[in-house]
């Protein structure tokens, strides 16, 4: 077993352990802005532990799809994590074309979540599912243009080889175009992970929710799977953005994971700041925001060649 493989394995396991911490960080930043003391940094872990120990309540109108969905989505997110490269060292698994699989593993997560939401026969959950599917159409475009930009620029179809070498080694003039990609990815991350200004993870009104309303009927360990999956998904997105960011600054290989960790923390703080200073957008304006992100990616696609 090579040293590099060991590092990748450590990264995989460390991600599994550290992911909920990012959610805790966001909440702490929001509490700071609100002038509150805020919940402990480890609160997401306590929440998961509490749900882990509970029994479950199932709606009489649900079928096995309902309890299989959280399992399938968490398994898909774990597979996506295995494709995510450790900055400077590559991913646990990689093959040519894995970026398509990476994107569509999240598509699978969304698909089964929507199925489970419709399975409950609740109008609230149907509405949330409808919005989720609607926004995903636009978010996917922005994400795929971003992936296409990176793939064409590096001539590679695998995440590990895309981020193997630093993207700006060739020419520093490319940095601004990469910055456009980072902005676009940040917007898509907010949409994909149901953060303000697209969705509010703390809202308690069914009619205004998107993602939270879809999982309203899940309870106990099923809900723990969903919350943990959401934490991992945010972690994966933050790491993905960190990969693009650090490829714009030269750093020795051994230092790259540490710089990436710094960027991930920064992204957590930034999400907290965005959520503290912005209100949600009107639902009808969300597609415009995501089309804006697609345009930024497209601009960068034209510049980077």
């Amino acid at each position: 077993m090579s040293l590099s493989f060991l590092f990748r394995l450590i990264f995989f396991i460390a991600s599994l352990l550290a992911a909920p911490l990012l959610l805790g960080l966001i909440v702490r930043v929001k509490s700071f802005f609100a002038g509150r003391k805020g919940q402990p940094l480890l609160q997401p872990y306590y929440d998961l532990q509490r749900l882990w120990r509970k029994g479950a309540v199932y709606s009489r109108s649900t079928s096995p799809i309902f309890y299989l969905a959280p399992i399938i989505s968490l398994a898909a997110i774990l597979a996506a994590l295995a494709l995510l490269p450790l900055p400077g060292y590559g991913a646990l698994f990689s093959f040519s074309g894995d970026l398509i699989l990476f994107a569509y593993l999240f598509g699978l997560v969304r698909f089964v979540t929507i199925l489970a939401a419709l399975d409950t026969a609740s109008s609230f959950e149907g509405m949330g599912a409808s919005r989720e599917a609607h926004f995903a159409i636009f978010a996917e475009v922005a994400f795929f243009i971003t992936l296409a930009t990176l793939a064409r620029f590096t001539g590679s179809l695998s995440l590990s080889t895309i981020f193997e070498n630093q993207l700006v080694q060739i020419n520093y003039a490319y940095s601004p175009a990469l910055a456009l990609l980072v902005v676009s990815l940040f917007v898509v991350m907010l949409a994909e992970n149901c953060r303000i200004p697209v969705d509010d993870p703390t809202t308690h009104l069914e009619l205004t929710m998107i993602h939270e309303v879809m999982v309203l009927d899940h309870s106990g360990p099923d809900f723990a799977f969903i919350l943990y999956g959401a934490a991992l998904k945010l972690w994966i997105w933050a790491t993905f953005i960190a990969l693009v960011v650090i490829s714009s600054f030269p750093a020795p290989t051994w230092l790259q994971p540490l710089v990436a960790l710094g960027v991930i923390v920064l992204i957590g703080v930034l999400i907290g700041v965005v959520e503290s200073t912005m209100a949600r957008l009107r639902l009808t304006h969300v597609p415009q925001l995501l089309i804006g992100a697609s345009v930024l990616s497209l601009l960068s696609f034209i510049i980077l060649r």
Partner: protein
């Protein structure tokens, strides 16, 4: 790639049995779907397929051209109200049907050639073969 697929399936199986084990010794009850306090939901109140696609259908209204008839509730205690939407297959109705109707009309104009006299049909074939022969000769 195979290892990853196997790993994903193993994660699924692992989580499946983990959940079963966790819930085996605990209270698992069934109840109604979360209804936000409304206790008499009926199957008619379900979110339908057309409700599900409504946001994207609205955005594509310029091409989909959904027909909509609505009778809004009137007065304080309305007895009735209705809403019906119907989305045609725009490409069938606006593109393919007129196109194929046009093609059918055009070929209808050539029906005088189809008269049932075998001798003339053989003449058509001979003319076609001759034309092909000359065309082939021209290519050489």
């Amino acid at each position: 790639m195979m290892v990853l697929a196997a790993g994903g399936l193993a994660a699924f199986a692992g989580l499946f049995f983990l959940r079963r084990r966790l819930l085996a010794s605990r209270k698992v009850t069934s109840s109604v779907t979360w209804d936000c306090g409304y206790t008499a939901p009926k199957a008619r109140m379900q979110y339908t397929a057309s409700s599900f696609v409504q946001p994207i259908v609205d955005e594509g209204a310029w091409i989909l051209q959904t027909h909509r008839t609505a009778k809004p509730p009137q007065g304080y205690f309305p007895k009735e109200a209705e809403l019906a939407t119907y989305t045609d297959d725009t490409f069938t109705e606006k593109l393919f049907r007129p196109l194929f109707a046009g093609v059918a009309w055009l070929f209808g104009k050539l029906q005088w050639m189809q008269h049932g006299r075998i001798s003339l049909y053989i003449l058509y074939i001979a003319i076609a073969l001759l034309a092909l022969l000359f065309w082939y000769g021209g290519l050489r």
